[in-house]
């Protein structure tokens, strides 16, 4: 019997990221003692990540008598006689990938324990079945406050990642902005604005089309086709909505906002609201009005709104 681990994409990416950072810092033209120390620290993180991967993502081979475990990079190798194994335990664990789950731990005769993380194997059930059939069960160790961890570990991980990115961005952008003049020094990117607006409009139009198509042919299409239709609709709807918020923010940040910005946001809100209240029957009208409004506003409607009701002088 042979069980192979999955490829640890997240771990490998982290290891490569820290290794690249370390090399860049080490060979930096402005390298000082401090940057070289930071480079060494990052290199050690990278090596630690690689060793952790090797330790956790092990291949399992069993020939009926000997259990052979070899690490992902073949650094860790173990040959264990099945008679020298005391048994196995099941520990309850929480992580951001599998939420609350059970993890298998092998207890060896010399007191050492070998952990088999669930994330490392695509078919964990196979290992569970193998252990159940060949090794003595020694007990179940539930996790204290499991429900609390199950709920908060993914949330805290997500928020920490987001905060880390925000801090990095804050530090990165601080020196690029014009000091003492608010944001007057920032450049407006018309290309970005145009592309985002166009992408939002196209996504909205296709979303309505996909929703109409799927909803009207529900009786004649298969379940999987309807499911795909729903997924496409959901994806395009999400893109359209998020782009609407992005375009408005981009215009505000660069000082190009005006009444048309908020009318665009309002039209998006009303479109989504109408479909929710009236149901799929509203889709054709929403599609036609949305697309019509998009074309009209690109053809000069936005300028017309701004010149008649604008709160700042059109640029």
């Amino acid at each position: 019997m042979s069980i192979k681990p999955t490829i640890p994409f997240v771990g490998l990416l982290a290891a490569i990221f820290f290794a690249v950072c370390s090399v860049v810092l080490f060979f930096s033209a402005f390298a000082t003692m401090g940057t070289q120390l930071l480079s060494a620290f990052m290199l050690s993180i990278s090596i630690f990540a690689l060793l952790l991967i090797d330790h956790s993502y092990m291949s399992i081979d069993f020939n009926g008598r000997v259990l052979q475990l070899s690490g992902f990079f073949k650094v860790r190798r173990m040959k264990i006689d099945i008679n020298s194994i005391c048994g196995y335990e099941i520990h309850q664990r929480v992580d951001e990938f599998n939420s609350l789950h059970n993890m298998l731990v092998l207890v060896l005769g010399n007191g050492k324990r070998v952990v088999f993380p669930k994330i490392a194997y695509a078919n964990y059930l196979l290992i569970e079945t193998f252990f159940e059939a060949n090794i003595k069960f020694m007990g179940y160790r539930p996790l204290r406050f499991a429900d609390f961890f199950k709920k908060w570990v993914p949330i805290v991980t997500f928020i920490s990642g987001l905060l880390a990115l925000l801090v990095a961005l804050q530090k990165n952008c601080y020196n690029k902005q014009t000091k003492g003049s608010g944001l007057g020094g920032l450049q407006y990117s018309e290309t970005l604005d145009t592309w985002l607006t166009a992408a939002g409009g196209v996504a909205g139009a296709f979303e309505s089309g996909s929703a109409i198509g799927t909803a009207q042919s529900l009786r004649s299409i298969s379940f999987s086709t309807a499911k795909t239709g729903l997924k496409v609709t959901k994806g395009l709807g999400t893109v359209g909505l998020v782009l609407s918020g992005l375009v408005a923010t981009h215009e505000v940040v660069t000082g190009q906002d005006n009444t048309h910005t908020w009318v665009d946001v309002g039209v998006t809100a009303l479109g989504i609201g109408a479909v929710a209240v009236i149901g799929t029957a509203a889709l054709p009208a929403v599609a036609v009005i949305g697309l019509g409004y998009g074309i009209w506003s690109a053809a000069g409607g936005s300028d017309w709104i701004d010149s008649n009701w604008g709160y700042r002088k059109p640029k």
Partner: protein, 131 residues
Amino acid sequence: MFDKLYYIFHSSVKSGFGHAERASFLLSASVLFYSYSLYFVIVVLTKSRVFNTTAFYILFGAFGVGIIYGASKYFVGTGRYRRIIDKYGSPRLLTKGKRFLYRFISFGLFLGAFVAFIASGITLARYLNPW
């Protein structure tokens, strides 16, 4: 709290194609635009600077997509919406008054999110580039 909130949105959305998905979308769109508004207000209140880099827009967009997809996965993908309906009862059995109240709350929250976004956006615009 989120379960009850989802139930309120689920009861308000017109039934039909992708009912659970539409309810989840409506709820997450509201949360998203309240979050954006909160960010704008924080920037104004703390007199912070605002990023105008590609990375910021990517993060801003990824946050939006993440909220909408996360909510969809949480409520619909995992089948949680069925458990919520089992817990609070079928929306069809709601009294007329209760249904009206739920519709009022959900559409109030949804439209309120966009109103908050527009109001905070104009406040931010005034702070960044006064007219």
